[in-house]
């Protein structure tokens, strides 16, 4: 049984047809990249899988269950979407890493947050840093571990390394590779050659449809 399956999915925003009859499946443990020109519906596909929007036509299945029948709030804790230019909340890094705990009504585990920071080459001191003092690369790394503190089954990456400096990019690549090795399925949108090479499958999209 596929982890995620899209069946004849179409999505329209206003008068604009963004996706038309898109069908594909993602198996557990896959590392899939959606490629294609801008405006081909790649990000929309990720948002549909993340349950942030719903298709106008067609169905999406998660482990054989139609997304329409699932509690999407719980589902999104398993299927995590990372934005291209993430926003950090409130004041400090700690505020951001505490949020996934608060969402699950759990006490903040500071040690776990410090370990997570280390994984993206940021010291434990970063917890108390103000988000306004972070560089773009550091913000993206904090945002990424915010998504990964509670390990999701499926990680959706929407051009997360676009605009990052080389050092941050390498750190993010290493983290993604590690997370995938540990069993998280990954679906990404990227134009980065290194990320394209790392993925196991490519799916080319054009004009709102899947070609291959």
């Amino acid at each position: 049984m596929a982890l995620i399956e899209l069946k004849q999915v179409s999505y329209r925003a206003g008068d604009q047809e963004i996706l038309q009859d898109v069908s594909f499946a993602v198996e557990e443990g896959d590392y899939l990249t959606l490629t294609g020109p801008s405006g081909s519906g790649k990000s929309t596909t990720l948002k549909l899988i993340a349950g942030l929007i719903s298709p106008n036509k067609g169905e999406i299945f998660y482990k054989g269950q139609n997304l329409d029948s699932l509690d999407l709030v719980q589902y999104r804790r398993q299927v995590s979407y990372c934005f291209q230019q993430p926003t950090l909340f409130d004041e400090t890094v700690k505020d951001n890493l505490a949020l996934p705990f608060a969402i699950r009504k759990q006490d903040f585990a500071e040690k776990r947050a410090q370990e997570a920071l280390k994984q993206v080459d940021l010291s434990a001191d970063y917890l108390d840093k103000k988000i306004t003092t972070l560089s773009g690369g550091e913000k993206q790394r904090v945002a990424l571990i915010r998504n990964l503190l509670f390990r999701p089954e499926l990680l959706l990456l929407d051009e997360v390394t676009t605009g990052l400096d080389e050092e941050s990019k390498q750190i993010v690549h290493q983290l993604i590779a590690r997370v995938h090795q540990e069993g998280t399925t990954i679906v990404q949108v990227t134009h980065d050659q290194e990320e394209l090479a790392a993925s196991k499958q490519l799916l080319h999209m054009e004009k709102g449809g899947v070609l291959k």
């Binding site: 942030l52 996934p100 699950r104």
Partner: protein
Amino acid sequence: MKAMAVSDLSLILSFALVLVPVAISWKEKLGLTRDIFYSVGRAIVQLVIVGYVLKFIMQVNNALLTLLMTLFIIFNAAWNANKRDPNPNRQLWQSIMALLIGTYITLGVLLLTQTVKLKPMQIIPITGMIAGNEMVAMGLCYKVLATGFHDQRQQVLEKIALGADVKTASMTILRRSIKTAMQPTIDSAKTVGLVNLPGMMSGLIFAGVDPVYAIKYQIMVTFMLLSATGLGAVIAGYLSYRNYFNKRSQLREEQ
């Protein structure tokens, strides 16, 4: 009471004051002349009708009729507060609910403490004051919510993507909306008597009541408005933030 009587002639002469904004509009080419005359005409018609209705209700002195009048005030305030909500998915029943609860709880406390009596001449003006202030607070709350969901759309989306429920995702915006809605009443409480002599107190002084006695009523009004605007804003805020989401806990597209 004669001291506060306004003769018909005085009233007609005071109409000259309306010509001031008309002259400003004409001189500065603001295009407001028509709107000024319409609003003045409307105010006169409304007040004349309300004057006769209130006179009738006060003469009849019937509890049910008084209650009906308070419901009429509440419904009108709710209708206007709802119109101030920029969200196309706004719900009138939410404004009605917030105003009903906010007004009747505040009124109930005033009645239980015997600050006011169950008489139309007390209940109706007090209800008007409560509902009017709640209406402004709720309108402000709705506007700040709309601005928040527009400006912080990305943040809300990211919280939702992290698995937050709609309440957690909206909490920052919701808190700011309620705070902003309550702030003018709190600020006005700080300057009451120093900057402005509010309507209740001014009315009593106009009627020849000892100012020291009049301040007691103004203090009561200050307490009452703090409670009413707080309740109205918190209920309206907590009911209406959900209008920005669909049943699937997804943030609706902006229209």
